[in-house]
Amino acid sequence: MRSKIKKNHEFFELSKFRRRLTLLVLLTLFCVLLSRAFILQGMQKDFLQKEGFERSNRNIELYAYRGKIYDRNNQILAASETVRSVTLEPRRVKFKKGDKKKLSNLLKMKIETLNKKMKTKRNHIYLKRKVDPKIASKILALKIQGIDTEKDYRRTYPDHEISAHVVGIYGGDGKGLEGVEYQKNDYLSGTQGNKKILIDAKGRIVDNLSEVRVPVDGKDVHLTIDKRLQHVAFQSLKKTINKFEAISGSAILINSKTGEVLAMANYPSFNPNKRMKKRSPFVRNRAVTDLFEPGSTMKPISVAAALEKKVVNVNTKINTGNGLYRVGRRLIADTKPHGIISVKEVIQTSSNIGATKIAEKLSKKDLWQTYSNFGIGNLSGINFPGESSGIIRNHTKWTDHYHMSASYGYAMSTTVAQLARAYTPFANKGEIKNLRLFKNDPIKIGQRVLSIETSKNMLEIMETVTMQGGTAVQAAIPGYRVAGKTGTSRQALKGGGYGSVNERKYNASFVGIAPVSNPKFIMAITINDPSRGSNYGGVVAGPVFRKVVSEALKIYSVTQDGIEIIVKDNEVDSQEI
């Protein structure tokens, strides 16, 4: 047994030289491996790791949708949609014959511009951003080496210029620039996500590595705007401004019970889908930002103050004389002499002298307090960016002339939105309502500023304005009782004063309530400087009211106040009331 072991031992026994040679070879190989490992792990570690990561790791952005803006009937006013951006790798690009022309046609880009872009030293440039997906597909179908497309997002406004002032503009990079886009930016903006992924040799995502941040979409905003009425308001305004060659105009339609804004339009407008090189002067929502002297549209408020203080009643007679009335050095004039008229007729004929004489019976403080209670000089509650609060001096600073001017709407300024709000007490049994633009905002309880009796009397007085002999028969709606008040106010010139007869510019306004039996809608309209035909509020702004409110009454199926039928020669004909 021992000899066998010895034999085996002897069998494996190597000569000293061979043993050392084997050891040396193994050691050399080991050293080679060790040095290679040292080079790779120690000296080229960073480079190799970077190369490895670049081949297998990717950081990808996860897009969060910006919230949509809806109207009250869930119709989209603003939303984001997917588009493509066309990219170019100048070093790789190879055009076949005719490709360049086809590409330039599809991109609507001159060949010279394309050539210029190709000369760039950068590896990757955008040929054109936010291209329609259908055009992008056609470009990809050309199979031009070095031309590719990337996914991108674009804010789209299906209503174009119609709701532009309300919805506003989105400037990209998560920033709203105007309107609701600006006002509700934090609410609409989502949080972009990202994640680090591992890809295999075929480019497939096989694992999430770390830092996964889930994208959170922005929240949707629901407005109180009714897209149908917005369209009618905008088109009517546009037609009127073109007809009377006015500079601009604004209109707002509200639900008189809740203060919800159903339509808010301005003309001229802008298309928010088009990128503006220069900021247009028509971008701001003039219905809430621009101030003007409301003129005679304020008379119902001063008369309401007098009725409330019981210094006059509906039938009190006022002597307006021959149409001229002197207060201190100033002369107050009516458009024509009205003689002795009732308080009702002061409103119906829009007599400045009548309003002045009524205001004389009120103290400065009482008149100021009433205007203030009706929201003049205060924000309308709509909280729109850039909203003006209007201007009215404190009564302690009122001169006698200021007192008289204030009675017929001069020496103060309001926005169209404030004007509409100021009429809510007449339609709500004396309660003023804040304006609301967002459907989810809570309805606030109105503040009482008039007695029920006075508000009822005022509605009846204002109804005469749209009747025969009133200043706004053009605002009457067949089948419905309409109350309202016109305003034709001179615009203050830059240097002060109202200028000579030839220099004068006017604001033609109308504020109306319908139907009188159970008021549902209030609409305020102002047209800036109508220069052709007429400049009277009833003639210029009245028809806008009639058109828009008629549609609103139809759309919301409001019961008619009264209709007449006339039968002539077996033919049924209609008569407008």
């Binding site: 984001s80 119609i162 067949p478 039928i565």
Partner: protein
């Protein structure tokens, strides 16, 4: 010796199972990513369709279509009838 061999075989087996499980995980993860991508594409499509619906149901377009193609016009004063 036998125990060592068995343990070695088990080690190899578990190593293979782990590799297979990892591979399976990657295959499934890839399938999940494709589904996620599809979800995003469907969401994009939904947005696109909503915008298209909103554009095409606009009053302006309906009015244009009604007047232009269907020859529908508001009735004239004589054609209007009011019922008491």
């Amino acid at each position: 010796m036998k125990l060592n061999l068995i343990l070695f075989a088990l080690l190899i087996l578990f190593a293979l199972v782990k590799i297979n499980a990892h591979h399976q995980y990657r295959v499934n993860h890839h399938a999940l990513e494709i589904e996620k991508q599809r979800t995003i594409e469907l969401k994009d499509e939904q947005h696109r369709l909503l915008i298209e619906e909103s554009s095409k149901s606009g009053n302006g377009r309906i009015l244009e279509y009604a007047k232009g193609k269907l020859n529908m016009n508001p009735p004239e004063k004589k054609q209007k009838k009011l019922i008491k």
